[in-house]
Amino acid sequence: MTTITPTQAKSSTDRTAWQQFLSSSAATYVLPTGAIALCLVLWEIAVQLFGIPEFVLPAPSSIFAIIGQWSGVVWQNSLVTLQTTLIGFAIALVAGLLLGFLIGYSKVAYTTLYPILVGFNTIPKVAIVPLLAIWFGIGTIPAVVTAFLLAFFTIAVNVSLGLATVEPEMRDVLKSLGASQFEIFQKVGFPHSLPYLFASLKIAISQAFIGSVISETVASNKGIGYVIVSATATFDIDLAFLCLFALGLMGIALYAICAAIEQRTVHWIR
């Protein structure tokens, strides 16, 4: 016979309360926020303890102290970066979809284009930005183009994968009913590629974001990337870090929006 002592009973209820918290949606906010707060605290202590100079690594407290002074600049330039990112992403979405459908459906297009795409994708895009600056001048256009170039490959590859992985029997069911190629695409191919598309969007939006910031640091006179370059040039490291925080927040927001769209639209994936 086993008897449950009061302490055992208590520890088991504690465990279930903890597990309940872990499986709650609150945990997905509380835990990461806690981790970030902990990092900032450790950072603050380290800077104070080791006396790290401000132009090498400023303490979080001194970064937050300049928010009032610089928030206008950071906000305006964040909007610029956001805008170029979204425009580049939108173009990448359209181009990626079309290209993905093309190489997903046509064996010829796949064999011809795929090696070219892979080769092109492996070129670091930062190497292309100076050329874009020569062709389009300094400013928004090179940033939009870089965002597009980084994002479209992921979308195209995923969409083509979605088409290529349709079970042959699914097509056979429709073919045996006398469905046209377009109907097969409409009823099977397109919906089947949607989960692949939406899974690629949250990666592609981050890539577009990276692309626009890269371009801004090399060939622009506005945007967060430009502000960081200017700030570090004048050893205004506080401002550079504030910009990095802004970039992190924007990146998380864009990712979260895409992930939310994915969950709403492809509810059938379990």
Binding site: L177, G178, I269
Partner: protein, 273 residues
């Protein structure tokens, strides 16, 4: 029978011909320089409302025969007539079910069953106007297979047997002349499979369509069929035509009778690997 939008004209002149007529069908494919003959002058006919099974060793071309009827595989040699005229391209009046139920995961059960009506003429033209009637017909079919409470469920919420039942309803909703079954119960466990035989029989009683079943399960073939054809290994010929004269509706008890065992033995003895 289903209601008016799905009833079809059966007074056609083709009624005197067998629904399917396979005449000297041969099939060969070339690989690495030498040709393999799969089917060697296979001939048989399927009459209206008959249920025919084809059994035989793996790779004997059973599935190829079904694919020829559905238009997925062109006839290489010989003639394949549907109601007296050769099949070219896809037959619109075919319903097909595979071992893999291949329901579309983004559609619920009811929407999956309605799929053929969105594609096949003449239903396609009237799909929007007649949607209520079509839905009613789909619900009745689903009720026959015991899925009336699962219309709004998505495939991931259904068990393997339930998916297969929905897949059969999809194969029958447009009232096809011919139902093609390619080992539809092969992936199910033994007890579920036997439930499916009963359900298949109920569905057939309702729709009266002609059916062709490819299976490895000899008891299944006997339970469901009017005639069972046994095929030899490649190059395949039909080595036995076995009429099954058991009364209908068939029951599980019949499968324990001496008569059934006798038929089973005859089939088994003709299958070689």
């Amino acid at each position: 029978m289903l209601d008016s939008p799905l009833t079809k004209d059966t007074s056609s002149s083709a009624a005197s011909h067998p629904v399917l007529d396979f005449q000297d069908i041969s099939l060969a494919y070339a690989s690495k320089g030498h040709t393999t003959t799969v089917l060697d002058r296979v001939s048989f006919a399927v009459e209206r409302s008959q249920f025919v099974s084809i059994v035989g060793p793996s790779g004997c071309g059973k599935t190829s025969l079904l694919r020829m009827v559905s238009g997925l595989l062109p006839v290489q040699q010989g003639t394949l007539n549907f109601q007296g005229s050769p099949i070219n391209g896809s037959l619109h009046s075919v319903g097909i079910a595979f071992q893999n139920p291949v329901l579309l995961p983004w559609r619920n059960t009811l929407q999956n069953v309605l799929l053929p009506l969105e594609v096949v003429q003449p239903h396609k033209q009237h799909f929007r106007q007649k949607l209520t009637e079509y839905k009613q017909a789909a619900r009745e079919l689903l009720a026959t297979v015991g899925l009336d409470n699962f219309q709004k469920h998505y495939p991931w919420q259904l068990s393997g047997g339930m998916k297969q039942r929905a897949s059969l309803c999809r194969a029958l909703i447009h009232q096809p002349e011919v139902l093609l079954l390619d080992e539809p119960f092969g992936a199910l466990d033994a007890f579920t499979r036997e439930d499916m035989w009963e359900m298949m029989q109920a569905l057939r009683q309702r729709t009266q369509c002609t059916a062709m079943l490819v299976t490895h399960d000899l008891r299944e073939a006997l339970y469901l069929s009017d005639v069972v054809y046994v095929m030899s290994p490649r190059p395949s010929k039909i080595v036995l035509e076995l009429p099954v004269d058991l009364p209908r509706p068939r029951t599980m008890e019949m499968t324990f009778t001496d008569e059934f065992h006798h038929l089973y033995d005859r089939l088994r003895r003709h299958i070689r690997h």
